[in-house]
Symmetry: D3
Amino acid sequence: MKAGPDSPLAVALSNVTTATITTLLLKKGLRNVWMRGPRPVRAGLARAIGHAFTLRFVPAREDLATPESWAKPVSTRSAIEAMPAGCIAVVDARGVTDAGIFGDILCARMKQRGIAALVTDGVLRDLAGILTTELPIWCAGAAAPPSVAGLTFVNWQEPIGCGGVAVFPDDVIVADDDGAVVIPAGLVDEVVALAAEQERFEAWVMREIGKGVPLPGLYPPNESTRARYEAERDKR
Amino acid sequence: MKAGPDSPLAVALSNVTTATITTLLLKKGLRNVWMRGPRPVRAGLARAIGHAFTLRFVPAREDLATPESWAKPVSTRSAIEAMPAGCIAVVDARGVTDAGIFGDILCARMKQRGIAALVTDGVLRDLAGILTTELPIWCAGAAAPPSVAGLTFVNWQEPIGCGGVAVFPDDVIVADDDGAVVIPAGLVDEVVALAAEQERFEAWVMREIGKGVPLPGLYPPNESTRARYEAERDKR
Amino acid sequence: MKAGPDSPLAVALSNVTTATITTLLLKKGLRNVWMRGPRPVRAGLARAIGHAFTLRFVPAREDLATPESWAKPVSTRSAIEAMPAGCIAVVDARGVTDAGIFGDILCARMKQRGIAALVTDGVLRDLAGILTTELPIWCAGAAAPPSVAGLTFVNWQEPIGCGGVAVFPDDVIVADDDGAVVIPAGLVDEVVALAAEQERFEAWVMREIGKGVPLPGLYPPNESTRARYEAERDKR
Amino acid sequence: MKAGPDSPLAVALSNVTTATITTLLLKKGLRNVWMRGPRPVRAGLARAIGHAFTLRFVPAREDLATPESWAKPVSTRSAIEAMPAGCIAVVDARGVTDAGIFGDILCARMKQRGIAALVTDGVLRDLAGILTTELPIWCAGAAAPPSVAGLTFVNWQEPIGCGGVAVFPDDVIVADDDGAVVIPAGLVDEVVALAAEQERFEAWVMREIGKGVPLPGLYPPNESTRARYEAERDKR
Amino acid sequence: MKAGPDSPLAVALSNVTTATITTLLLKKGLRNVWMRGPRPVRAGLARAIGHAFTLRFVPAREDLATPESWAKPVSTRSAIEAMPAGCIAVVDARGVTDAGIFGDILCARMKQRGIAALVTDGVLRDLAGILTTELPIWCAGAAAPPSVAGLTFVNWQEPIGCGGVAVFPDDVIVADDDGAVVIPAGLVDEVVALAAEQERFEAWVMREIGKGVPLPGLYPPNESTRARYEAERDKR
Amino acid sequence: MKAGPDSPLAVALSNVTTATITTLLLKKGLRNVWMRGPRPVRAGLARAIGHAFTLRFVPAREDLATPESWAKPVSTRSAIEAMPAGCIAVVDARGVTDAGIFGDILCARMKQRGIAALVTDGVLRDLAGILTTELPIWCAGAAAPPSVAGLTFVNWQEPIGCGGVAVFPDDVIVADDDGAVVIPAGLVDEVVALAAEQERFEAWVMREIGKGVPLPGLYPPNESTRARYEAERDKR
């Protein structure tokens, strides 16, 4: 399944919370799929869905991490030009929070190239400026210094760690108010198949709660609750 | 003194800041009553006041912390059903911030049962959903994964730690924009007695500041300031 | 160059972001000028610019850090009265985040004395109250307990550390949405001289991005970009 | 299976490393059984094996955590007297490392009562003194202050967290140079059954390495290595 | 009371553990006197006792923290020459552990000038070299980089923080296997007066433990234990 | 210059401390070359010198980090077989300290293949076993769990971060009692050229200290000290 704003994948997951995705993946034995660090850069961001395009930084070393390095062939600039429209850029900034990986200019270019979102365990710089670009961003905050004050860019489309989670180039990323999760490439179809039903069931439970039904036996459902739910669901 | 929205306790403390409470308790030798972690989940929450109903988690172990565990007799579900209206649920999540202790369904049930507030050093999940429940929450943020990804629920109404502070079932909790504090059960009456006068004095000081009075001698007051304050106070 | 709301310094830097300042200082070999911790206390604060007036705390010791200490000659109260109008108070709170250095009363007095801003790696208390004072504040959050619960005030106008950065009394501080940076006293004139041109160039780059120009060769500029920019700039 | 120095359990596990136990438990899906914090208090401690006897602390509150509290019925003293010989005391100190949970006197009493070992994510005090007691201890270091400076004791034989791991009263603890692991009560027999064979196989691999056999195909073994090992094993 | 190797103060405290000192100070309401960080640099260091001579660092800034700065009038070199024999140098390194405050040369000079000990929440460099100087050191470990890679020296004999504890020039420092504690100048005589009796009582308790006496009623002593102890003590 | 036990590089640096190397690199503007985390695994390790052979881990994901993964073509096993004799293996374990990257078997194979040393910001497992292999190791401690409990191996001979420092395959690593430093490939010859003279000068200073010469003017040397040193040096 391919991503992109109106892709079948994006449509299928558009109403599925990251909370539901983590529950489904935990039932398959995956407990470590939610990235520690990335948060919506502003209130009201729509859920973002796309295939991961990875970028990797290592720590800064003064002989490598210089403003001059920004013009080298392997640079964040080249990486941005290599991104396909609709992807989600996932940046391994090693959790460094005192050097901003990108500012307004790079975010503006990403927005123009149709990148669906930027997700990082690092921080951005020039917060006022990047908000004007309207690129959807999940990050760990803002810091004034340039990336080279703390980080050296090394490559793109490699396996990375982001917020304590492994991300590979083929994986699917979903980000919303609870942060960002990875769906391993091999599990995407299965998650999509289960997600709609899970959301439907939880919405029904919320209506039951609204009627005053107590939790035990309702959520998780015992057999009679399950039967009652299925009967109501099938009636519709 | 009993709690609850219109209880004498809630009325007595409704205009008393947590800042004032910590000052009063420090004067009695208690320096560690403010919980590190709990923050208002949204702007504009009214001050919450109530008796603590404690819940306790330990770390997750894959043989214990499973979706199946949610249906066991000792579960967060049963704990919620055991809470009296007007209490403040205080949850020891051991500061774990990558697994959400509750989501929208449990919060909706707590709201419906008349719980005054939820306070935890952990995080919630499905932030968008829990905001719709209107349960007042003080927590350390949001994370998508379910509690069982990081925590195992073990019991309720035991002594707990929350944000580095000891909380016992009989204690009183007050939470506002500065976070949440505990008033040990044995000190509640005394704090209530002193709080109103302290707030009255500080309001008078703010008016003096507004008139351009310098700080030394004013706050803390020297003898002549104290006399001037008392004269004005008694005139009213 | 002297500071103050309408001083030449404040005018010269009023449109210069802290991001630009850190880039300029990095080019001079200074990589550690952005303070870890201070954040705008509310959205929409205008950029603050001023000379640093430093305050220094050490950890609390129960025999020293008492409410009584607030009336001593060396106290935060005396420090506030010694501040010149237009300065930025920079407070070394050693990164302590569970004791508020100041509350509404001290902030109100600072506002009245014309202090341009308060910057600290610590936290404030009585958040609701300090917001009413309208003092511009960059801090690491809020906590209810008084400073004496965690800190002892020792002196003012000494060299300090704030958020992992050295600040001396003669330095210039600039704070905006990305936090707070120090410009060492000896480098202020040079930074001011370079900053306007840097901002002008980056604004031109943003317009180029808006036209769809790709990043490589544009930012950083290669020779032909540089020539094109200079031609357009000189035309104006 | 019961513990104790010469118990069948202790004999069965006496040559099994905690490294091997974690590998076996990971193969059953348990990834979080090694406690972060506990280290051997001195070089040369023999492997300790026993059933967990749990103790639980919460943070200190000045009205609770006093030298007077040491004489209360629920105290660490009473807990020590309740421990059966051969058990391993596992103490949830919430990772507090600036207050020592026990000193020489309590350790001497534990040694005399035949406690197999003390395991904690906290620290001990009077390091010189506790070494003379010869009680085997795994802890996070030493600190001079008494427990009441940072902790309040609340109960024993409850579920606890220790170093980020859940420990229940029936579980088995094994501690060696790599630290301390928990074997959930329900998995002890299975681990014991697999452990001897795993150690035998790894010892054979070490001999193969000594002969210059390369790693790929050897460890983990491919089919021909597996066959070769089994043939040699069965010959013995 | 003055310090120095054979001073009455050193003699009075030579058999008093830092554990006992923290217990005595806690009974006077001081819970924060043990420094987090300083550890004996090698096994077998004798207890060190002396008056604090304080040094203060702030974070490094590249324009200040240079090898050239080592020759300035306000330098660690000058500070060392200003230290009186018998003092304990207490260095506020702000907990920085990736830049060594001193190496073998400075330690050799301190040893030669008769400094009783060096205590810091930072680290030393050239560990092999400093061990040959035989200066007694309590520190947070070792790191190769020079101080100027992370720290700027600013002054001596000011109030400092060290490991989260306030230290003033007149205070007394005691360091042993459990780390380092401060006795505030005003409390030294009282602590000395109580310490010998406390150590005598605890030694008696250890002998009672050796006889198999259970903990409850013994430690802390109930009335009959207290009477028994006092009778035995007075007989001697 | 090539590495290896008796290589000219190893001979040239065999008496040069990591402390001296960091001082020389700082004078060239490199302040971040010392790795946070790696420590000698036991006392008495000789200084290790060699070219870096890098290995890279990302965080564990249960679908990737399995015992089965150990047999895949891209595995730590294959990486070890690819290492040239005399190299220093530098492992980016992302600072994870609760899963051991290697145990006794892999270390035994590395030793047999002539690897000069293993340096990592992670931990080892089966500490007792790896000590018997006599492979020189600098690491952040020991933990029982296998690497797959926390880490996924992804590649070798890529740029990595280790302990907050960038390491590239061509760089030179030196490790001693103070930990491990990187000398960027392009700076090796220059460092070697300066190092011997620096060590000679510092040894002379230590002899001067032994004669009672005070620090100011001696270290750093003023002109007359410099002249005196050079005269004595040239006499030899």
